[in-house]
């Protein structure tokens, strides 16, 4: 049994919780997010040679980086950065959160999700910007919590990255 602690980071209301709601095992209600500040879910990903249990720490969305509880990330082996594709500011927030985490615990694998891809008419992140980030070798997925598009792909990718 291989388990990995994964932290899901992203600005306020980017859809982290909705993103995992339909694709993970969960026993805790969403009120944990507002009370304890974290909600734990599990996503089992079957890789060709083994199965990895991703223990997902869904941290309460914080636009205010200062109040982000970095201690929750201790011991994590990967990150899921979630950005709301209809709000440009959430990309900056996600990147800042990642920098914050790396400064504290060192570099770790991550996937970057541009969520709400179903809202094409309100999409504000230019493709060029996404391409630039891809050039850096980043794993980027346009996801939709609504349709489930690319969500599984993203978790599979991350699982293979952390299981190495």
């Amino acid at each position: 049994m291989l388990q990995k602690k994964i932290c899901m980071l992203g600005g306020f209301s980017v859809g982290k919780t909705s993103l995992v709601r339909r694709f993970v095992q969960s026993i805790f209600s969403e009120t944990y997010l507002t009370t304890v500040g974290v909600k734990i879910d599990k996503k089992s990903v079957a890789l060709p040679d083994k199965t990895v249990d991703l223990i997902l720490w869904d941290l309460a969305g914080e636009d205010d980086i200062g109040s982000f509880r970095v201690s929750h990330v201790r011991g994590a082996t990967g990150l899921v950065l979630v950005v709301d594709g209809t709000r440009a500011a959430t990309l900056a927030a996600a990147l800042t959160l990642r920098e914050r985490v790396e400064a504290e615990f060192g570099a770790m694998p991550f996937v970057l999700l541009f969520n709400k891809s179903d809202l094409a008419d309100r999409w504000v992140i230019p493709d060029s910007e996404i391409d630039e980030l891809r050039q850096l070798g980043w794993q980027i997925y346009l996801t939709s919590a609504l349709t489930g598009e690319h969500v599984d792909d993203a978790f599979r990718q991350l699982a293979s990255m952390v299981a190495k």
Binding site: M1, L2, Q3, S26, V36, I40, I55, R74, G75
Partner: protein, 838 residues
């Protein structure tokens, strides 16, 4: 060769000698090794390096402690302090727990049993108590990685269930973080207990892993130590694997066996058989004892009731007057009683009935005596004195009191009895018995009669006396008062011996005044007269005439007599009076000329009137004043009409014809006669009016009108109208040669105006300016007007009232002579005057 060698390896030789030198010189060697030691240590395999260094480090620490223990203590202080604190805390908890449990069980059946066990095994009592009372079971044990919160191992007891242990373990460490962050807890301690009802989560923190036990029940504090030991063992065995744990738990399979020992820990409730035998025996014993108690209690109750009845009887006897209980006792189920009794007192035997005491069981011994209690004395006195019917004997505060009337013989006997009694007995008071000898009686009766008269209203007793068995009385009496003679009846005073002398007077006492008022005013049935606080009050309803009379009477009374208040008599005539007032108003209207009342009614306190009125007639509304009719209740509907009453016709004629002052209109025998002098034009208008009026049947006689004599005036008029004021060409001011003309003209105008005014006619003078034809017509028009204005100003200056002067400019349109004649232009440049009479 040497040279060759020098050539070939000289560099190596020097290098070698440098190294040899380095190795030989300890200082230099130390410097060189020191340079590479940290990186060498870092590169060396940790395990080997640790092993190699361990003895040296141990010795170094040992030396350090020997030299100065303080240094190491300071280093370890932050590590030890929390551990020591925790350990002390747990020890205190243990003590409290054992104390609580000991107290709880000290007096129970278990307690006794456990004391025995403690004595038998040699363990302390509290230990035994804890052993039995703390029932618990470890249901789960989680071994959690401290760093990532990932689950290393999880063991569950039989029948225990939980949600996904992986999620739980992460959440538990998240909660640890949460508590630590929320309360800013910097110390290396951790959340060690979570309690939820029956369930406890105990967490023991090791260097790399946390052991969380989920315990159901009431665990002893020592369990902490046991769990800690398990964690310690796990760390000892797999320290390296734990440190390097990265989510792959397959490396740590052996851990589960250790956790299993944890989960097997439990203390179960001992289940003992119910002690049936003991309970049955106890039950039997209590039934027997209960039966015996019940029976003896019942008979005691019965006897108790009997005795208490006897006691009630005795106290009843004691309460009876004339009975003295000297002795009483209960012996062998029999009752004995002895004492004194008055023969007049109740029979003790008869008192037994109704007490439910069996008379056969009662043995009485009574001796007679004379009781001095007042009621017995009273009985004896009644028997011996035989008081007459007019005397009543009674007991008042333990005294015997005789009241009433009695002959003096009886009083003497009573007094003797009272003297006899005085020794020891109650007082016999005969002072209230009146001696009834005949003179006294008669005088008393007379006094009663006199006081009766004194209380009679309208009777004033001035003098009274008794002389030689005759009664004399004198005073005043109101004829309306009671007859003193008739009051004698029933007083038992002999009328033949009464000599009265009464003089009549008018009493001012309210009731007499009332009577007199009633006689004189004849109040109607609707009025009630009564006396209230010495005032005579009339209430009810009466017509105002009666009220007026009553008011007059009240005024008369006011001097010295009682007040006569008639304010509460309601005047019943307002409606009638209002109707009267209305009728008066209507008749007043009807008497008015120019007002014709067509219809009028009074209904529901409102008055309705309609008819015709001449606008020149008096205003019906104004006529209301002084009639006492409420204007608000009057609803009028008037239509205007022209009255043919000569007075109105005259008014209208005066208004429409404006007769000159020399004319007078008067009404003679219904005909309107116009007398005087007037201009012919006015006479013509008057005649036209007379013709119109004759159609309506009104006679307007204008035959006596004479035409105003205007001969002199006509002459003057002619003179004025032939006067012209001439102007030089282009001038609007007349030359100085015109001044006498203007003077004369002004005088003539003034004279004419005055004469005309005298005749009641207003004369007006039209000044018309003219111009010659020279020049433009518009200029001529304005010149002509300006000339007229100038003349007006000049005449005004000479005393002619400006309102009599009218001006107009005729331009060239009204030439006096044809313009082409020789003098045409100069003759035409003028202002002419015409006279108008209104």
């Amino acid at each position: 060769m040497e040279t060759l060698r020098q050539l070939l390896v000289s560099r190596e030789i020097s290098e070698l000698s440098r190294v040899t030198h380095l190795l030989d010189e300890p200082e230099q060697l130390a410097a060189a090794v020191g340079g590479v030691l940290p990186s060498a240590a870092a590169r060396a395999p940790h395990a080997q390096l640790g092993e190699a260094l361990a003895p040296a480090v141990e010795r170094a620490v040992q030396r350090s402690i020997q030299k100065s223990p303080r240094t190491l203590t300071d280093i370890l202080y932050p590590v030890f302090l929390p551990a020591i604190r925790k350990s002390i805390g747990e020890r205190i908890d243990q003590t409290f727990q054992s104390l609580n449990e000991t107290l709880r069980h000290i007096f129970t059946w278990h307690g006794l049993k456990w004391r025995f066990e403690s004595w038998r095994t040699g363990a302390s009592f509290s230990e035994v108590v804890l052993k039995h009372s703390l029932v618990y079971r470890i249901e789960h044990a989680f071994l959690i990685n401290r760093n990532s919160g990932l689950l290393i191992a999880h063991v569950t007891a039989d029948n225990a269930t939980s949600e996904d242990p992986q999620l739980i373990s992460s959440m538990l460490s998240a909660i640890q973080d949460f508590v630590k962050d929320s309360f800013n807890e910097k110390e290396q301690s951790s959340l060690d207990t979570i309690r939820f009802g029956d369930l406890r989560l105990w967490s023991e923190v090791g260097p790399f892993a946390t052991l969380v036990s989920v315990i159901r029940g009431n665990p002893p504090e020592e369990l902490h130590e046991i769990i800690r030991d398990v964690l310690l063992r796990i760390h000892e065995e797999s320290s390296e694997a734990l440190e390097q744990f990265e989510g792959d738990s397959s490396q740590l399979a052996g851990v589960e066996a250790q956790l299993q020992t944890c989960v097997e820990l439990k203390q179960e409730e001992s289940n003992q058989g119910f002690p049936w035998l003991v309970v049955t025996a106890a039950l039997l014993l209590s039934i027997l004892a209960g039966g015996w108690f019940f029976l003896s209690w019942q008979s005691a109750q019965r006897w108790q009731a009997y005795v208490s009845r006897w006691q009630a009887y005795v106290s009843r006897l004691e309460a009876h007057p004339g009975i003295i209980v000297a002795e009483q006792q209960v012996r062998d189920g029999q009752f004995y009683i002895a004492g004194l009794r008055d023969p007049l007192a109740a029979d003790p035997q008869s008192l037994l009935s109704g007490t439910q005491v069996d008379p056969a069981q009662v043995h009485s011994q009574w001796q007679f005596y004379q009781s001095l209690e007042p009621e017995f004395v009273l009985k004896r006195l009644t028997a011996s004195l035989a008081p007459p019917d007019s005397v009543r004997l009674s007991i008042d505060n333990d005294r015997i009191v005789a009241e009433g009337e009695a002959p003096d013989t009886w009083i003497d006997r009573a007094r003797a009895a009272a003297q006899q009694l005085s020794v020891g007995g109650p007082v016999f008071d005969i002072s209230r018995v009146r001696d009834v000898s005949p003179e006294v009686l008669e005088a008393e009766r007379w006094q009663a009669y006199v006081s009766r008269l004194g209380t009679q209203p309208g009777i004033i007793v001035a003098e009274q006396k008794i002389h030689d068995g005759q009664f004399y009385i004198a005073g005043l009496r109101d004829p309306l008062g009671a007859d003193p003679q008739s009051l004698l009846s029933g007083t038992q005073v002999d009328p033949a011996r009464v000599h009265s002398q009464w003089q009549f007077y008018q009493s001012l006492e309210p009731e007499f005044v009332l009577k007199r008022l009633t006689a004189s005013l004849y109040p109607p049935d609707t009025v009630r007269l009564s006396i209230v606080n010495d005032r005579i009050v009339a209430e009810g309803e009466a017509p105002d005439t009666w009220i007026d009379r009553a008011r007059a009477a009240a005024r008369q009374l006011s001097a010295g007599g009682p007040e006569f208040d008639i304010s509460k008599v309601r005047d019943v005539s307002p409606e009638a009076r209002a109707a009267e007032h209305w009728q008066y108003y209507v008749s007043r209207l009807e008497a008015q000329s120019g007002i014709i009342v067509a219809q009028q009614t009074a209904r529901g306190g409102h008055f309705y009137i309609s008819g015709l009125r001449d606008p020149l007639a008096a205003d019906p509304q104004a006529l209301l004043s002084g009639t006492e009719v409420d204007p608000a209740r009057v609803h009028s509907q008037w239509q205007f009409y022209q009255s043919l009453d000569p007075k109105f016709v005259v008014k209208r004629l005066t208004a429409s014809l404006t007769p000159p002052k020399s004319v007078q209109l008067s009404i003679i025998q219904g005909r309107i006669v116009v007398v005087g002098e007037a201009p012919a034009a006015w006479i013509n208008r008057a005649q036209a009016a007379a013709e119109q009026l004759s159609a309506d049947g009104v006679v307007l006689d204008v035959s006596q009108l004479r035409e105003l004599n205007l001969a002199e005036l006509n002459h003057l008029r002619e003179a004025i109208q032939t006067t012209d004021i001439f102007f030089s060409s282009g001038k609007v001011v007349p030359g100085p040669e015109q001044t006498p003309v203007l003077d004369r003209l002004a005088d003539q105008i003034k004279e004419f105006a005055q004469s005309a005014r005298k005749s009641g006619v207003t004369a007006r003078f039209m000044l018309t300016g003219h111009s010659d034809t020279t020049g433009r017509e518009t200029a001529n028009a304005s010149i002509s007007a300006a000339r007229a204005e100038t003349v007006r100003a000049l005449l005004n200056k000479r005393g002619v009232a400006p309102e009599l002067l009218l001006v107009r400019g005729a331009g060239t349109f009204e030439p006096a002579v044809p313009e082409n004649s020789q003098t045409g232009s100069s003759t035409n440049r003028r202002v002419s005057v015409t006279v108008n009479l209104d």
